[in-house]
């Protein structure tokens, strides 16, 4: 099976500052991948390399058999869309914001919106439950609603690959689950491939079918959640004590943090 996205030994970074080195992994179409790792391990830099915001120093990214650097910005925007952690919120209405996602499909000198574009926007607004908010300003929405509008706009690009940069880290558990379930549904029904940067390891295990764990700008390990999320690996990468168990319903790993004091009490009890 040929990969939708193949990342071959890429290195990129900021001038003399931080760099990621020799990153390689590949994903088949329809995968749901998570990028995990501590702060400063290079997750967002990797995203910038894929999106083209940072140019690659070495290596290549092959998208659907073609080198991604040969894509024009417009072609790229039709294949891949990005939702960042915080959405830039200008004072425009939700509908206008979502419609911006149709930008890669506009013809030059097309000043008015086509009915088709409006229909696509409305479809995804219904899907993300943001249609009821369409005349509100983006600035008036809650964080969760803004993320939903962001997804609707990204989907309007009709991408084959969706990049999500910590989309749920500032949402409560209700909105977190709503958001993740929606992404899962899109992944199932549209075979939309997803790569997500995520801090919550349990959430990553529950939703992703492939994980890339990063440390100090390199890939530490990659594989299924069961392979990657073992307590030995997590303790090595995150430098912290955890317990890993299996979720009885989903069969996926669950990562429990352990506080220093409880660990001390636990050790004393077990030594006695």
């Amino acid at each position: 099976m040929s990969a939708l996205l193949a990342i071959n030994n890429i290195s990129c970074g900021y001038g003399n500052g931080f760099h990621i080195k020799d990153i390689s992994f590949s994903l088949p179409e329809g995968s749901f991948a998570g990028i995990i790792g501590p702060n400063g391990s290079g997750k967002t830099t990797l995203f910038k390399g894929i999106s083209g915001d940072l140019s690659l120093n070495s290596g290549s990214i092959i998208f659907d058999g073609k080198d991604l650097s040969s894509f024009s910005l417009r072609e790229k925007a039709q294949q891949l869309s990005i939702v960042s952690q915080f959405i830039e919120t200008p004072s425009i209405t939700v509908e206008e914001y979502v419609m911006m996602g149709r930008m890669p499909y506009r013809k030059p000198f097309q000043f008015f919106d086509k009915t088709e574009d409006i229909a696509v926007a409305h479809h995804y607004m219904h899907l993300t439950n943001t249609f009821r908010l369409r005349n509100k300003l983006m600035t008036e929405l809650s964080g969760g609603e803004q993320q939903m509008a962001g997804i609707a706009s990204a989907l309007c690009q009709k991408p084959r690959l969706l990049l999500l940069d910590e989309p749920t880290s500032h949402l409560d558990i209700t909105h977190q689950m709503k958001f993740m379930n929606l992404i899962q549904k899109l992944n199932d029904e549209l075979r939309l491939s997803v790569i997500m940067i995520v801090h919550d390891l349990t959430l990553a295990a529950e939703y992703c079918d492939y994980l890339v764990m990063m440390k100090d700008g390199r890939v530490f390990c990659k594989g299924t959640p069961e392979e990657v999320l073992t307590y030995e690996k997590i303790e090595k990468v995150y430098d912290t004590v955890v317990v890993v168990k299996i979720n009885p319903v989903s069969g996926k790993p669950v990562v429990f943090p352990v506080s220093e004091r409880r660990l001390r009490t636990f050790n004393q009890k077990n030594i006695k």
Partner: protein, 337 residues
């Protein structure tokens, strides 16, 4: 679809406003010419009113429209590129450079050779400044918007100090010329310049309109615009050249007329929204109307003498801006751009 209808309504309303202001400007002055008489007078080439209309008032009204429209268009574009509500053609140091050029020309005595050297010096001054600000703002091949703004402000300070220096060493009669030029005026008798200004403003409006969707996407930030398939870098560069051309030409023809580029696009944005498809046209038409009306005021307030138009635009624009800022409900919207 009601968006289209409201946009058509805005444009029609603004065209009416332009025509109203133009009529006012044609009929008010030392000699009052009633609107109803204008067609008849224009047919009678012998009358004095014909001369007043064709040689003074019509060119002046056209120039007011073109300059007001250009400055306001330039402001609208710059606020879009920088996503900063305080940017206007003059914040980038362009006016400082132009004034310095004119001051230098007057001090050296170039204006005595040919009066056209003054606008030329202003134009050159504006472009040298833009060149400086632009090249200094490029870092590692990319244009840094914030850096550009800071350098523009610094260049303004430097030019104004150098201007003061030149004024302090020159003859007293030159100072009058410098001050008069800086204050700005629509009193321009060279028809070629007026024609050039009017055509330039319309051509630039059309070119800017080609970049209307990139401008819309830039509202979400440069990075997001790029992710939507827009080449932010090239769009910003071309738009920047357009605004420089517009501002340089305006300063060369009419001197420094402040506040139009800052205040008009703001008020327009509050009124029609931030979609550049309507914003650009509305800013252009409103700016034209605003400057024609300001010019009528400048001519009538202390008639038969004339106030510099910069005085009127500054006072009217400044007060309007403060009123807008102090209306707290809209304030957040205004500052968010």
């Amino acid at each position: 679809m009601n968006k289209k209808i409201s946009w058509i309504f805005y444009v029609l309303l603004l065209i009416t406003a332009v025509l109203g202001a133009a009529t006012l400007s044609l009929s008010i002055g030392e000699i009052r010419i009633p609107l109803a008489d204008i067609p008849r007078l224009l047919a009678d080439k012998e009358s004095m009113e014909f001369g007043v209309l064709t040689y003074i008032r019509i060119p002046r009204t056209l120039l007011g429209f073109a300059i007001g429209g250009s400055l306001s268009l330039a402001g609208a574009i710059l606020q879009g590129i920088y996503r900063n509500p305080l940017v206007e053609p003059y914040t980038l140091g362009i006016s400082g450079g132009a004034s310095l050029g004119v001051t230098f020309a007057i001090v050296v005595g170039l204006h005595l050779l040919n009066i056209l050297f003054l606008p030329l010096a202003g134009f050159i001054g504006a472009f040298v400044t833009i060149f400086f600000v632009y090249t200094l703002s490029i870092r590692k091949g990319a244009l840094s918007v914030n850096r550009m703004l800071l350098i523009g402000v610094m260049v303004s300070f430097i030019s104004s100090s150098m201007m003061m220096f030149l004024m302090s060493i020159t003859a007293v009669e030159n100072i009058h010329g410098i001050v008069f030029w800086i204050m700005g005026s629509l009193n321009e008798s060279n028809t070629a310049m007026i024609r050039g200004m009017v055509s330039l403003s319309i051509v630039c409006l059309i070119i800017a309109y080609i970049f209307v969707m990139p401008l819309n996407a830039l509202r979400l930030g440069e990075e997001k615009a790029r992710h939507l398939g827009i080449n932010s870098d090239i769009s910003i560069r071309i738009l920047f050249v357009i605004t420089s051309l517009l501002t340089g030409a305006c300063i060369a023809v009419a001197g420094i007329i402040g506040f139009v580029g800052l205040v008009v696009p703001h008020i327009v944005r509050l009124w029609v929204g931030s979609d550049y498809r309507i914003m650009l046209i509305a800013s252009f038409l409103s700016g034209g109307t605003f400057l024609i009306v300001c010019d009528v005021l400048a001519r009538t307030v202390i008639s038969p003498n004339e106030l510099p138009i910069g005085v009127i635009t500054g006072i009217v624009g400044g007060i309007a801006f403060i009123i807008l800022l102090s209306r707290s409900q809209k304030q957040s919207k205004l500052l968010k751009g």
